[in-house]
Amino acid sequence: MKKSYELLATLAAILTLSSAHGQTAATNPEAPGDGALSTTIKLAPKIDKVGKWLEDLSITPRILQTNNGSAGSLGVGYSFSVKPVSKIEKVDEIGGPATGNIKMYSFELTANGLYAAKPEVNTGNVIDTSASGTYLILQNGIYAKTAFSGAYSRQQGNDTHASRWEISQGLGTWLPKFNNVELLGRLALARVNPIKDGARKMALGEALKSYQRLEFEGVAVIPINAGALQKVELRHLQFKEPNAPDKVRAAGLNSFKISSIYFRLSNSLFVAYSKGGVPADRKNSQVLQLGWSSSSL
């Protein structure tokens, strides 16, 4: 509670300071809500590194005007970014043997939006926010990273809103005693917004809605460095929708998997073979970029 008071005191001080240093009138093309014909009176410029963890803050009173002749509105645009947790532990002094071990974690939150006295004039979002956090450990050839991210936006005066989120766990290891083989994997649970998925829309027979999906990917990197063969990569990618509607399940759209084997030759050529498929929004995950490849679906 005490910290909340400190924050409010800091905000008040910022506004007072900004007013005392003079106000300028300017059009702000980056402000939220520029879908409406608007004029901005810029009161407080963007402020960096406010306090201990408030990265930046901007509060901008605005006059919103419509282009259909109806009365305008007063509004307030805002944006801020906080990073209350961010730490990297550094242990190895240069001059001695390094372990290469790292531990780092961070959390940050950003938000911006535009509030109008007359909601019907506000064509921007009243809130548009995102948050993310990571915890990473690299120790003795083993990598582990836990991460989450999320975003939420909402328009003013109606129920139009959107959200997305993802939590993920990465795990990998480097094996010096096994010819520097690498084993890498990641598992994620995400809310997917299927904007362009004709097959899913046809199966459902209705407008597309967001849904939750599990995603797993594993890759083994095997250096060879002998003859014409530089390395081999084995990859498996799998998607599963845990609570898929019956119609999606019946159409076989609730689960996808693809497996690939990739031979890297000298002179950047490769030979690859893939079997399986991926969801419509991840078609790029199926593409191998150079050389030539053979694919069987």
């Binding site: 043997p97 993920s168 480097w174 690498e182 995950s285």
Partner: protein, 128 residues
């Protein structure tokens, strides 16, 4: 030593000094390329995306970061025990070197020379 690594134009030159040789040797020892097929003189122009840690079968940025960071650990373990080193500035630790290497290792347009330049910007080798 490089001047302000990462800024352009670069004054860093790929040549027979410890900054470049150590980078070449360490990557070779870590199995990133076949030393019999890549001569030192041409290695500076070699794209990092041609090395073995750089994933080709997956486009996942998370897995690429994982692979790159694992490489930085093996890299600093090797270079710290095989080359006499000091930091360019007081307070720099091996973690700083690893985190400076990371964005270069993830950039498919960068070369081995660019990696050596970033490392050289933080470390002082015996011949400097």
């Amino acid at each position: 030593m490089a001047t302000n690594p990462g800024t352009s134009p670069s004054t860093f030159a790929w040549k027979q000094n410890l900054a470049c040789v150590s980078c070449f040797k360490t990557l070779a020892v870590l199995g990133q390329f076949d030393e019999a097929k890549l001569k030192f003189e041409k290695a500076g122009d070699k794209k990092l995306s041609d090395l073995n840690y750089f994933l080709q079968s997956s486009d996942s940025p998370q897995l690429l970061e994982m692979s790159a960071l694992l490489l930085t650990q093996q890299y600093v373990k090797y270079i710290s025990t095989h080359y006499v080193l000091a930091a360019q500035k007081t307070g720099i630790k091996w973690t700083d070197v690893q985190l400076a290497m990371l964005p270069v290792l993830k950039d498919k347009t960068k070369t081995i020379s660019a990696l050596a330049e970033v490392i050289d910007g933080l470390l002082k080798f015996a011949d400097e």
